[in-house]
């Protein structure tokens, strides 16, 4: 499903070069729930960004769902993301000027060939599934952190992607909300068969997933 070969990422600023990823080789199978752990600054987010086509590697090959993606044009990458990959962030990143329904609809807005009524139906279905039907018209500022993350998960779900990338999805939540979000992710993995890659600092959460990849200084150590 996800295949990285010899991936390297160097950040160049005026003064310094940072080797954020060095020779990363990684296979993740379809339907796997993988967690990535490691100390701060070791390159976890960088890896997730590269898998999610949000950033390009400095070297190496990336194959996602059998397609080589690192050399696609910007528009083709955007389209690929739109159909196949979605994201859950630590700080939710809902758009503050849009209400819950509009935030959730975002991936469908950027997808060609979906009618407004279709869009509305799918948004309502997803929000129903996540128990947010009564919050349709609320703005993000009017929701709790846990609700925000559920809205973000609804947004990650609405386009029916095969891959979900979650960067410390429970990092900003209390443990009760965190558990709830983990439950949700597990359900999306087991019930829907979606492939999930999650960065976490929580040992217990990591152990509940299929596999733990440990990172240190831009390398996989186990």
């Amino acid at each position: 499903m996800i295949k990285l070969e010899g991936v390297e990422k160097i950040y160049r600023t005026k003064e310094i070069e940072t080797l954020a990823l060095s020779n990363v080789n990684l296979h993740i199978d379809k339907g796997e729930f993988v967690s990535i752990m490691g100390p701060s600054g070791c390159g976890k987010s960088t890896l997730l960004n590269i898998i999610g086509l949000l950033d390009n590697p400095s070297a190496g090959k990336i194959e996602i769902m059998g397609q080589e993606v690192e050399n696609l044009s910007d528009a083709a990458q955007a389209d690929f993301r739109n159909h196949n990959i979605s994201f859950v962030f630590q700080s939710f990143h809902l758009i503050p000027s849009l209400n819950v329904a509009e935030n959730v609809a975002l991936p469908l807005i950027y997808r060609k060939g979906i009618s407004a009524s279709d869009r509305k139906k799918r948004v309502e279905e997803v929000l129903e599934r996540l128990g947010l039907s009564h919050r349709l018209r609320h703005l993000p500022a009017q929701l709790s952190g846990g609700q925000c993350q559920r809205v973000a998960i609804a947004r990650a779900l609405v386009g029916d992607p095969k891959i979900i990338l979650a960067d410390e999805p429970t990092g900003n939540l209390d443990s009760k909300m965190g558990t709830e979000v983990m439950h949700l992710l597990h359900e999306l993995n087991r019930h829907d068969g979606r492939t999930i890659v999650m960065v976490t600092h929580n040992e217990e959460q990591a152990r509940s997933t299929d596999r733990i990849i440990r990172f240190f200084d831009g390398r996989i150590v186990s």
Binding site: D79, H93, I95
Partner: protein, 426 residues
């Protein structure tokens, strides 16, 4: 719809910078439209000058001979030689291009000083005066030099004190003239048609002071599809014919581009120079460019700072599949709405200002030759505002928006989504 929501959101969340952006746009539209509207007042079509776009004016001739040079109004014979029977001219009027003051009374007791224009019959066809009573004089009356006069409504009221003067005789400089008709007062800013009375007139020998100079000016009404430039070409050709014939006498007419359109006429010039509409246009466009670019630079700074706060939003949109061009068009669309709000406020302010206060700052007429009434006159709403003005304002808004938003939006669309989301770029 979503553009509108975004703007409401910003007004709520970041009121200061959003209102400053709107106010800045309003101010620049105000300045732009003040210049444009005041320029437009001189060429806008409004009764009795409804056909301004089709009217051309030839008030002067410039002659050079052994004795020197002279320029000014034309001898009637020369005027006919140069302007009669041109293709594409539907009507031609020979008038005296200067106004005079006359002492007028109904009964020889109540004397009034009135501005007089000397005109012929065609004058009343070219300009669409609104006759309250009576009718224009006919060409046969003009040719027979019948003493006839048409009064403005307010002159008639002044002289008649409530009596209907149509058909009555009044004294103009002690000579009896019959009142042929009464017209509604033209607006004082319409200097080609405004007067207090109009007398039937055709040039006689007493006012011809050379074979070329006299007291006649020409007004031409073009046929609907005629081209002003081809009229000019024909007149210039006639100048050349005249000069070829007069070469033996060492006499020469100097061509300055007549007849002139209204636009050309507004560029102040004397009887012996050509209106330089080319450099006037360049100056005008430069002026507009400065008025557009300076505020646009300011606005683009504000757009940039508003967009900085939305970098992570842009990153998220990119993550979920928005292409760069989609981001650009969204940002430009949102900002166009903002520009439009400011622009409409600025336009409204400009119309109100020009309607009520412009005469404190702007002289629409040549103050040296104008009456107090003309000098104090302000344009009417109809002269200032039209759909054309609205679309010009819309166009200015559009350009302003492209200049002020284009580059910030383009830059915002280029940020790396990963960095935008993590906030490393802000």
């Amino acid at each position: 719809m979503n553009y509108f929501k975004q703007i409401l959101f910003e007004l709520r969340e970041r009121p200061l910078i959003t209102w400053i952006t709107i106010a800045g746009t309003a101010l620049s539209l105000f300045l732009l439209m003040a210049v444009y509207m005041n320029d437009n007042v001189n060429t806008v079509s409004t009764p009795p000058e409804s056909r301004r776009a089709d009217i051309m004016l030839a008030p002067f001739v410039h002659v050079k001979n052994d004795h020197g040079e002279s320029s000014g109004s034309m001898n009637r014979n020369l005027a006919e030689k140069l302007y009669t029977g041109i293709d594409g001219v539907s009507s031609i009027s020979y008038i005296a291009p200067w106004s005079e003051s006359k002492i007028v009374s109904l009964d020889g007791k109540n004397f009034q000083t009135l501005k007089e224009k000397k005109v012929d019959a065609a004058f009343w066809q070219i300009y669409d005066y609104d006759f309250v009573s009576g009718s224009p004089f006919s060409q046969s009356e003009v040719d027979a030099r019948v003493n006839e006069v048409i009064l403005s409504e307010s002159s008639a009221r002044l002289l008649g004190k409530g009596e209907d003067l149509t058909g009555r005789d009044i004294l103009v400089d002690n000579v009896p003239h019959k009142v042929k008709g009464i017209v509604r007062d033209p607006h004082p800013l319409l200097s080609n048609t405004w007067s207090e009375m109009w007398t039937a007139w055709t040039e006689d020998e007493s006012s011809q002071w050379s074979d070329e100079n006299g007291s006649t000016g020409v007004i031409i009404l073009l046929s609907p599809d005629a081209d002003p430039n081809s009229i000019k070409k024909e007149v210039e050709r006639r100048y050349e014919v005249f000069n070829a014939q007069s070469a033996a006498e060492n006499k020469k007419l100097i061509y300055h581009g007549s007849p002139f359109t209204y636009r050309e006429q507004t560029l102040s010039f004397g009887s012996n120079t050509a209106p330089d509409s080319k450099s006037a246009n360049i100056r005008k466009y430069l002026f507009y460019a400065v008025l557009l670019i300076l505020p646009a630079i300011n606005l683009s700074g504000m757009t940039r700072s508003r967009l900085r706060r939305r970098i992570s939003e842009i990153g998220v949109r990119r993550a979920y599949g928005a292409t760069r061009s989609r981001i650009i068009s969204q940002l430009i669309g949102e900002n166009f709405l903002l520009t439009l709000i400011g622009g409409i406020l600025g336009l409204i302010a400009c119309v109100i200002f020009t309607l009520f206060f412009s005469n404190l700052f702007i002289n629409y007429v040549d103050v040296w030759n104008a009456t107090a009434l003309q000098a104090a006159a302000r344009p009417t709403f109809e002269m200032l505002f039209s759909w054309k003005i609205f679309f010009v304002a819309l166009f200015f808004c559009f350009i302003l928006n492209i200049i002020s938003t284009g580059i910030p939006a383009w830059k915002a669309s280029r940020v790396n989504p990963a960095e935008a989301i993590s906030g490393k770029n802000s």
